[in-house]
């Protein structure tokens, strides 16, 4: 019941990539310490009344005044702060991704602002200070639970500065989405054998295979064995062998070859294969039911393939 109510309240919030904290979306309540302080003040007041201590009244009211002011200061510590979230890079399901939240402050200095996930545990909060007229950036870690185009989880921004008697917080639903690839299968079987350019769209670009291995600058995704180590040692630059041999032997990654009953498991295996092909710099064609990507070099092909895997069964035309 409680969680349903919470979900209902959460769903009423608009999604937005920048979130201006105003009185309308900031909440404030006394903390447990606040109630404790209230109790202390009451006891102090009783003692002052009973012993007719004017100085005791003075002290009690001084602290009471400070507590009241601290309520406004706690609220003011978040009010008029502007939060932005950066569109996050794609990640794999189950691995933790880092999201960047920027706190933009056009006013005075703010202290002890805590950011965390709404459904996460209370202890996992990242604290930061924001300088006056400045910005602060907070990295939040999030492990996407599944693949797909996911909404970012709801963020809670809270503060109990300065006295910890009150906690003010806001609940923010970022509008940004995150592309989450399926989790690659650990210890996946090796890539399917080369199909020898069987779809004919990838002719032997450089004549007879194995005739000449050129060199080129290192590109991300090049396998270690592709590096021309002698040249690397001599020049200090990373240089890869243009492995025409492997490039010409285009392979085909096909959902039909994955051979697993469970759809998600099959997608995981395909993901692992795509990654493997990318690591080896393979030219590959990619086939999912309803999608047929012709053979292309791994660096171009992999993002598309991974996106298709993330979104399947929604089909994305390349």
């Amino acid at each position: 019941m409680r969680s349903r109510l919470r979900a209902w309240l959460e769903n009423r919030l608009p999604r937005s990539d920048s979130w201006v904290l105003t009185q309308r979306n900031l909440y404030i309540l006394p903390t447990a310490a606040g109630w404790g302080f209230c109790g202390t003040l009451l006891v102090m007041l009783l003692a002052s009344i009973n012993y007719q201590l004017n100085l005791g009244y003075g002290l009690t009211f001084l602290l009471g005044g400070a507590a009241l002011v601290s309520m406004h200061q706690t609220h003011g510590n978040l009010r008029r702060l502007v939060l932005h979230i950066k569109a996050p890079a794609p990640a794999f399901a189950g691995e933790s991704a880092t999201l960047e939240v920027v706190l933009d402050n056009a006013h005075g200095e703010r202290f002890g602002i805590g950011l965390g996930w709404h459904d996460g545990p209370r202890q996992e909060i990242a604290y930061c200070d924001v300088p006056a007229q400045g910005q602060a950036m907070v990295h939040l870690r999030w492990a996407p639970p599944r693949r797909g185009l996911l909404n970012l989880p709801t963020v809670v921004v809270a503060s109990h500065f300065p006295l910890g008697l009150f906690r003010t917080w806001t609940v923010w639903r970022p509008a940004a989405t995150m592309l989450v690839y399926p989790a690659p299968e650990p210890d996946a079987p090796p890539l399917p054998a080369s199909t020898g350019g069987h779809d004919g769209q990838w002719p032997a670009r450089r004549g007879a295979s194995g005739e000449f291995d050129g060199v080129r600058a290192y590109r991300r995704g090049d396998a270690l064995r592709q590096l021309v180590w002698k040249k690397v040692a001599r020049t200090g630059e990373l240089v890869s062998r243009e492995d025409a041999g492997s490039a010409s032997r285009a392979i085909r990654i096909d959902a039909a070859d994955a051979g697993l009953a469970d759809v998600e498991a099959r997608l995981s295996r395909l993901t692992a294969w795509v990654l493997q092909a990318q690591r080896q710099g393979q030219v590959f064609a990619f086939v999912l039911p309803g999608l047929n990507l012709p053979a292309a070099p791994a660096d171009e092909q992999a993002p598309q393939a991974l996106q298709a895997l993330a979104l399947w069964p929604q089909v994305v035309r390349a």
Binding site: T22, A33, F37, M44, L53, L63, G65, V69
Partner: protein, 679 residues
Amino acid sequence: MIETSSLPAASPWAWRQWPRETRDVLFLLAVVAWITAPHFAHVPLWCSTLTCVVLIWRAQLALVQGKLPARWMVVGVLVLAVALTAYTQRSLMGKEAGLTLLVLLVALKTLELRARRDAMVVFFLGFFIVLTQCFYSQSLASALGMVVAAWGLLTALVMANMPVGRPALARAAGIAARTSLLGLPVMAALFLLFPRIGPLWGLPQDAQGRSGLSGTLRMGGVADLAMDDTIAFRVRFKGPPPPSEALYFRGPVLTRFDGQEWQASLFATDRDPSRPLDLRITGTPVRYEMLLEPPRMALIPLLEATPMLPTFDPPLVDDTPWFGRDMMWRTERPVMMRLHLTAQAWPHHALGVTPNLRELQASRFLPTGFNPRTLAWAQALRERLGPVDERTVAAALMAHISQANYVYTLQPGLYGNDAIDSFWLDRREGFCEHYASAFVVIMRALGVPARIVTGYQGAEQPDADGYRVVRQSHAHAWAEYWVPGAGWQRADPTAAVAPERVRTSRALVAPPGLVAGALQSMNPALLARLRQAWELMDSRWSQWVMTYSRGDQFDLLKKVGVKEPDWADVSRALVIVFSAAAVAGAAWAAWDRRRQDPWQRLQRRLCKRLQGVGVPASAHLGPRALAELVRQVHGEAGQALATLLEDLERQRYAPGGQRLPGRQWWPQVARALRRLPNR
């Protein structure tokens, strides 16, 4: 923040290199030491020692960043402390026992600073301990000490809520000060208007713990008081002040003597209206004003003889003092508040001219078996003097004291069982109570009714406001003996041995402390002046702030036009003030919410008007886009409006241009809009 690494390693500012955890804990420990130290005078020695040990241990742990002791250990120490409290205080209830436990608890809690919650417990206990200092003193000095303590605690609290980095202590202290200062109006309103209601329940008996005078007298009792330099009250005379040697402020009269201890007369509290007090006054009265620190006893020491009820301002709440047969003013309950009163005294008076036989009987009684040598000495005196009247006997005794090498000293040492024998005949060293009790015992031995009167004698020189300070060190004991036809006569045997004690009102002075002594020897005048200035401030503080009470609240309301205010009016005023503040706050919040950029306001206004003429304007469109839309919808008819909108665009985005259009722009737009057909 201070760049710590740039400091040399051997810098005297080593604390700057402590890790934040160490520094914060040490700061908190210093604050805890500051708030518990004033209590060391009131808690048993073992408690203060244990507190110090625990605090030092914790500080050491913080410095070496060692592991905190296990919980069972802390609980063990706590159990031991509770047991010791129960043993030394004979109870776990009551103020003293509670305070002992509280001081220990806060010290022990510092050994357990694991989570935020633990720190919070220290803060809350700390605030309460700060408050308990008011039980002992509400002077300006203790108020300043409490402000420092509260500031320190708030600073530590702010520090606990700044989780990032290593904020400078001064920064946190600044934030704490700012928070408290902003809260001052709230404090002032509450202080002025919070209804002062009487005690909610009966005060525990231990509230009488400290007093200027005790109701009993035992050799040595007044010596302790004499060391106490705190202020008992201040007095100001209207008209010429009486000489110092006539300033006797009357406290309890002690009649019953059991050989060791003097106790109050049983007749003094007789309120039977059929036996009125026989007090005859003559001459002109002396009018005076008094500002009493809370006497914490059920009595008010007034100048001899003040037979008429003083005027209390603020009035005493549901307690009317009454005049006892011993000429002392009593109250029903111990007076726990400061008193401000005006009264009249008649220096020329005769008390108890009509003999009250039972009272006289009691005033002649001597227990058998005590001080035999003094009694023998008295008999010898009687034989030497022959049949003379009481006054002659008293004069002979005074003459004996001034001639027989008696010494006035505050450190006479301990006297044994027959204290008066060894004082009067052997050592001859003592102060007022020794002389007074010896005098009374000898008078009684000679058959003259006599009794001890305790109170205060003398006063200091007037300060700038004309108030003369009377300290606890002015506590005094003198004697009264009864003369047929003349009543009770005052005799101050101390005046015979140390006339300056009475004549120049020099208070009983204990040897000065180290610092005061050094200052005194360097520049006594400066010390005296500093002290005078401080006491003047203290006097004003207690006069204006600490005696603030229900009467002052009523006066305040009268000033703003409330006729005959009562406490309900005071509460109402408080509610009104806070409601007004809340309404003002809400109004500000509403205004703050609507407050927006003038440009945005203009744009919203424009959109609304354009939608009125059928242009699908929305807030995210710039003026140029709006102009485009106007042209699309209205064609040639919208040309004027579109031009105006393009003007706006140019004005807004031109380099160095104004952000907002001039004053004529909006009327032009309105005119152009009116010319368009409504859709």
